[in-house]
Amino acid sequence: MRHLTVYLFILLGFTLNGYAQKKHFYLTAKMNSMFILDDGSTSAFWGYGLYNPSNPMNGAARIPGPTIEVNHGDSVHIHFFNNSPESHTIHLHGLDVNQVNDGVPATSFMIPQHDSVTYKFLANHTGTFLYHCHVNTSLHLAMGMYGMVTVTDTNNIMYENGPRFTKSYNLLASDGMRSWWDNPISPGPFHLYEADYFMINGQAGSQLTEGQAIKVNPDDTVMIRLANIGYSLTKFIFPEGSNPIAYMSDGRKLPTLLESDTILIYPGERYSIILRPIEDIEDFITISYHHMFNYTDIGMNTYPISIDFFNKISENIDRPSLIVYPNPASSQITVNTPLPANITIVDVFGRIVLQTFLIEGANIVNIQNIANGSYLIYHDSGIAAKLEICK
């Protein structure tokens, strides 16, 4: 009977998802790992690593755990080998898996030491997700047992009929309490957790170097996956002019886009944004961490960002500004340009809605046929401006 059920599952899976690629990941859990903190000291942590079947003790754990990168439609198999002295699970946060694959001890099962299991799910939504241990979660998660799951469309569109991107970056915010890392056997009551170490992708402060900068070059459309798996409210503050637009949250498209330089992310939430820069920038994304009681600022990181988007057109000259008014506008705009040039008006999905040639000085541009919304005006000489159309 059991065999029959298995065969039925395979048959069903095959018919419903004839296009599905099977993708295998091999993870391990470790409780004897060390990592280097921003001040140069080392600390113990618990975490996930890649499991190497030919050498069971070879999978070094890290914070965060390895990113599970899959394509939309993939049938994902995560083979989990627990090489640690305590029981663990993998909870697939936001992937809406069925009860047996949910990784919750009370409703599915735990994986005891030196045991293994395979978690299965179908990646039927694009977006940003998480995984973490759900055994004694308040402790195991704070000890470092988490990572990201990304589901990407093979054509690099965010979702069906959504915007296209050319490059993507992941920024996963988390925090830790150093006294728990030092003494996980008796960390004290869980409600007294007070985060005192703050990370992006497992790194903090000076560890976040120029080498990891988010780079926007000409012709790039950069998507950034933002997530928070810590115990604090995180604020991602983008430099003015980088123009981040959130298209998705928690692996679903937003009914109305969120256009804001500051994105608040509560524990467990995720956002997918695209940068639509209107100027070149060498700056930082500031990530501040706030206490959930009173929003007190308790930590901060800066993540370098380098926007070199407009350089291909004009180099080594002072860029004149593009003056557009009224803004917001309804039926026509006046565009004041210091140089004769073509302008292109692009919507937030990257689609060109209008192209026209401008002479030097003030030009009136008819926008009656353009729908309400936010737009970017790109000028041939490498300058840009934002435009709101509101009728």
Partner: protein
């Protein structure tokens, strides 16, 4: 399965919480404070102090799915699990 669940959530406490649904995304029908999330499909969303949120869910798979605060200091009453954790029980 197939029922339309409407769930009302009120935070009358003194700190912010981040509610997480296992197994399902919910549609945010109404939110009095963070009203920019109305209409969004979320599996985790802020329930700040004094917030009143209404969400909708039409379950399509059976099982028991935890619903809990992801501000994990609140998921215990001296031990884990406890405090701000409950479950969806979906019958066939």
């Amino acid at each position: 399965m197939g029922d339309t669940l409407i769930i009302a959530i009120i935070n009358s406490g003194n700190m912010a919480h981040s509610l997480h649904f296992h197994g399902y995304h919910v549609k945010i029908l109404d939110a009095k404070i963070n009203n920019h999330i109305v209409g969004w499909d979320k599996d985790t969303f802020p329930v700040v102090m004094n917030e009143r949120i209404t969400v909708m869910l039409i379950p399509d798979k059976e099982g028991m799915y935890p619903v809990h605060d992801h501000n994990l200091i609140s998921v215990n009453t001296g031990g884990y699990p406890g405090g701000m954790i409950t479950s969806l029980m979906i019958s066939p």
